[in-house]
Symmetry: C2
Subunit: 397 residues, 2 copies
Amino acid sequence: MKMRNVAIIGTGHTKFGVRTDVNLQELAWEAIKQALEEANLDQKDIQYFVVGNVGSWSAEELPAVVVGEYSDLTPKGTMRVEAACATGSAALRDAYLAIKSGEADIALAVGVEQMHQSPNPQVVELIGRAGDYFWEFENFGLTFPGYYALHASAYMAKYGAKEEDLGKIAIKSHHYGARNPYAQFQKEITMDEYLKSKPVAYPLKLLDSSPITDGAAAVVLASEEVAKKITDSPVWIVSQGVASGTANLSKRTDFTRIEAAYLAAQQAYSRAGINFDEAWRFFDVAEVHDCFTIAEIMAYEDLGFAKRGEGYLLAREEQTYIGGKIPVNVDGGLKAKGHPIGATGISMAVSITRQLLYRAPKGTQVDVKHGMGISHNVGGTGHYAYVTIFSTRRPSS
Amino acid sequence: MKMRNVAIIGTGHTKFGVRTDVNLQELAWEAIKQALEEANLDQKDIQYFVVGNVGSWSAEELPAVVVGEYSDLTPKGTMRVEAACATGSAALRDAYLAIKSGEADIALAVGVEQMHQSPNPQVVELIGRAGDYFWEFENFGLTFPGYYALHASAYMAKYGAKEEDLGKIAIKSHHYGARNPYAQFQKEITMDEYLKSKPVAYPLKLLDSSPITDGAAAVVLASEEVAKKITDSPVWIVSQGVASGTANLSKRTDFTRIEAAYLAAQQAYSRAGINFDEAWRFFDVAEVHDCFTIAEIMAYEDLGFAKRGEGYLLAREEQTYIGGKIPVNVDGGLKAKGHPIGATGISMAVSITRQLLYRAPKGTQVDVKHGMGISHNVGGTGHYAYVTIFSTRRPSS
């Protein structure tokens, strides 16, 4: 049966960083306002909205409701969704399905997180609970840098990647972050600075790690019929894959990859008619989930951009800069742009949309040859994975 | 464009009550297992699952992930959704849209809540934060019984309803709860007991109030094509309406109704071709959100079962018992069955499905004349509202 096509027709993005100058709903509204303006719509046109927010550190128990009221979206239908650090992509999915299913013609997805509402050690504790609280956090004290350090150690031991290869990811992220006015860290770093940065969990250092971030991002989606009337530059959601991993990392068989991300990519590629081994040839730009540098290297392999065990070579050879084999995270990535966990997935969609429409910040714009982009958003350590494919060409469906 | 029909093909429901005998994932699995068995499917057949859980009192930060692993649903795609006390209906919606949109052919929605994980005063505090935390909870100390007491006072003052009319609701709920083996309270109460029960927030008493509950409920949904192969007794989701209300109750203009519920009903009725003023004629059974007795009376009016200001007469005349104008909450409702807030919306869908298929517990089965049922699930005090219509007849769409 023929399904409805869904397009992004407006995008909004706040400055990422320490955003205690506003409250949660004000932060969300900054992104929503921009997205509505870009779509040339106002609140009454929105038929449904969804709020992505983890918010364990938030005083507000019902983020979707306070955001709805403050943004004047009440009484439109809504819900809050959560998929750990992939929460933004879960929100995108909900709005996408609302339109694809015919329940709405215009919907808004906003991701928002204000992680600085909580003092720093508590945030790390709360993030540490993501996974299997009872077995791994309560009993063994694992927190997220520890989890990803397991991945990095396993990967380096098996494939011979070096600390400098991880450093290359951080340097690239900061190179582009320095050119993105929305980024939390707008300064470049050197390999020397990287190697000397404080150890967090061996082999990961401070400069391998994405920061604690406040921020919001929003997209307005529309059905094909409506999109055609509103804009001459829609960006279509071609397909989405979604998969999950075990809560316990002890039940995973391989620490050199994120199996859920691989499965989500397979789904998304299969629906879009993309061959996994040549996937990189299809895309002008990719946004991947580099919560730690090692995660970006695993993403190269889980998305088929590099063969197993060769992802670090893409970094070493600088093939994921603009002009390389496939530009990745040229908005600064989670590492330098920042990682407000409820917003990150939508931020990826915003960056890709603006890239495909030649609206990226100066010094970060890729050449658009294929009109296609891809986002890879992981929750936890592969507890959730969402892979989404975007295109300026209308899907035939 | 023709959309896909979606059917419920399996239902599961745990005993509601104090369920500290199990953990969150074990509780969810009780319902999931039953739903899979009823659908004659196993985990590998499920293509997507969604977990409804509020869980502010939960140690587990990622309920969908621990439920997925324990229930052997990993690596299927998933997310957690939240819409306060309407969370179960939000989960139903997500699974419904996954199938209606063509993203999946078989999906599972489970709602689970373990409110006794937290000591009682803290649960009331956490529920109190649902609404506008900053203005109404932090500054004025309003908690949920207080909010609904405002509704009850306004309603009684405007329309002349009496305490005994509220009592009629509680007595009916306990009458049917006593006959539902899954109910938290399986005993009848008298008007005298009702009138003498402890005051909570005038005019509401302990016996006006739904309890703190642990429990889970699950449904398996399938596309028409798949449902036809699996079962000869599908129950179709005909339509769903969804709306929201302001976070601040101070911004509401009328306390004698829940505007969001009325709007959600309008949407659901409009899509199903049902005339609001005669809505009660269409349904064999209704499940409404009686978190406090006054809420059930407002629901009668917001759903069009009674004219404005006359809902309490339905209670007084016992028209919502089996054999009356329209049987409502004949499973005991939130009041007697219990209200595990993430599960309640799915529990309603389970009760309606079993009623329409003549599988309700003895002494609670309605006569099925139209083959249709309706659920009304409110989050907060009208912060969210979901109205869903079910039928044994396949929608023509």
